[in-house]
């Protein structure tokens, strides 16, 4: 009886391995495309809003939250008082791809997109300047434009005319 059970178990084991024949889970990566998960955290990039303007307002939050202190930027201001980064520098030999900068960013400008395979000969080559960081696309949030939501007046819109934006309250009439 016990021997019979052993034989059955043996057969079951053999059948289990045979069923796996040809069910290959290896991805031949450089030749075959890699299917990255949607929340993949690759290299941080600076994105633009749908109108093609850069999203970053140089608030320094990403730089402040970065645990490895690898983000450095200088703020500049345009004639219409809109702020932008004069320089934006990320040292990727220190970046740990934690994504905190992406979470901190109020304008969804800095985003960890899907680039992950980049290697250099020297550490110095890992320091990316703004022209290398800024991409032409909108990244993960194709329709979001910070200035269309915020209560800031732009060239073509006044305060209170944006998306989900209420007209400004007159503080004097609002008194109790």
């Amino acid at each position: 009886m016990r021997m019979w059970r052993n034989f059955v178990d043996l057969g079951a084991g053999l059948w289990t391995t045979l069923r796996q024949l040809g069910r290959i889970s290896t991805v031949s990566y450089p030749e075959a495309p890699l299917n990255l998960p949607p929340r993949w955290r690759g290299r941080p990039t600076l994105t633009r809003d749908p109108d093609g303007d850069e999203r970053c307002v140089a608030c320094q939050l990403c730089s402040a939250v970065c645990p490895t202190r690898c983000i450095e930027l200088q703020a500049g201001e345009r004639a219409d008082t809109r702020r932008y980064p004069l320089t934006f520098r990320i040292n990727f030999s220190r970046c740990i791809y934690c994504g905190l900068c992406e979470e901190a960013c109020p304008t969804l400008a800095i985003q960890l997109l899907d680039e992950f395979a980049f290697s250099k000969q020297h550490h110095a080559d890992f320091i990316y300047e703004k022209d290398a960081l800024l991409i032409d696309g909108t990244g993960k949030h194709p329709h979001y434009n910070f200035y269309r939501h915020s209560g800031v007046a732009l060239g073509d819109k006044n305060k209170g005319e944006g998306i989900n934006e209420k007209p400004p309250v007159n503080v004097r009439s609002n008194l109790p």
Binding site: L14, T17, L18, S25, T26, S28
Partner: protein, 318 residues
Amino acid sequence: MRLFLMILGMLLTTVILLGVAGFLVFAERRVLAFLQNRLGPNRLGPLGVGQALADALKLMSKENFVPDFADPVLYRAAPVLVAFSVLASFAVVPLDQHFSWAGNWNIGLLFILAMSSLNAYGVFMGGWASGNKFSLLGAVRAVAQLVSYELPLGLALLGVVLLSGSLSLNGIVAAQSLPFIVLQPLGFVIFMIAGVAETHRLPFDLPEAESELVAGFNTEYGGMRFGYFFLGEYLGMTLIAVLTALLYLGGWHGPWLPGWIWLLIKTGAVIFVFFWLRATLPRPRYDQLMGLGWKVLLPLALFNIMATALAAALWRLA
């Protein structure tokens, strides 16, 4: 002239067998990978076949190193003995009715058994001469295993010999109008299990047992000396597979295709079973291995012979 041609032919046979062994190393890695959801070596050449060549070149280009603490003569002789004994066994293996060196030799099967015993000497010499504890343990295990599994192997073969009335492989195949696996199912199973143990392949690879004995009897071997052991192992597997095909699966008998292709197909199928076993089964404990050999396989093999003899006698009476 005739002698010269014969030597040339033997050389050619040997080279082909070495090629087969190299290819089997590659094939095993590939098949094993497919059974384990992997791809295996697929870079070099079509489907990765070039990997066999690369492995061989790597082994050949390595230094032939003899450790200080090893017995230099035996250390050098052991791998050659292992490779020689297996290669010599192939002399009696017929590829077809008229295509073999000594297929008609009336003690062919005995010769193969003798050579496989010689193989055990080679393994033991290698482990002993290495002067290493792991090697010695591996060698002791190898000898105990080979000796205790040679008995059921030989006794299982005796059933085939009883049925066919011949010890030459040609004669045995000629006697199989019905493949002997039908008449000797128990003998077939015993032969397969004992064959796996005889070539010390997984799951009965206790002489090598990477996870406990480093590499067993070939721990101290490197380069082409290790290559010889490797060759011996893979050719031994081929030998057992060919024997299974010849003795139990009807050899070159089969419809439509030429005989030698049938033999190759059957051999390939048996070799696949070897790979399959390797991918599936874990290694037993040593006492379990010995227990299986002496307490299960040997009595079963004896029973098989008695039953075969009785059936044959009754058949003759009737």
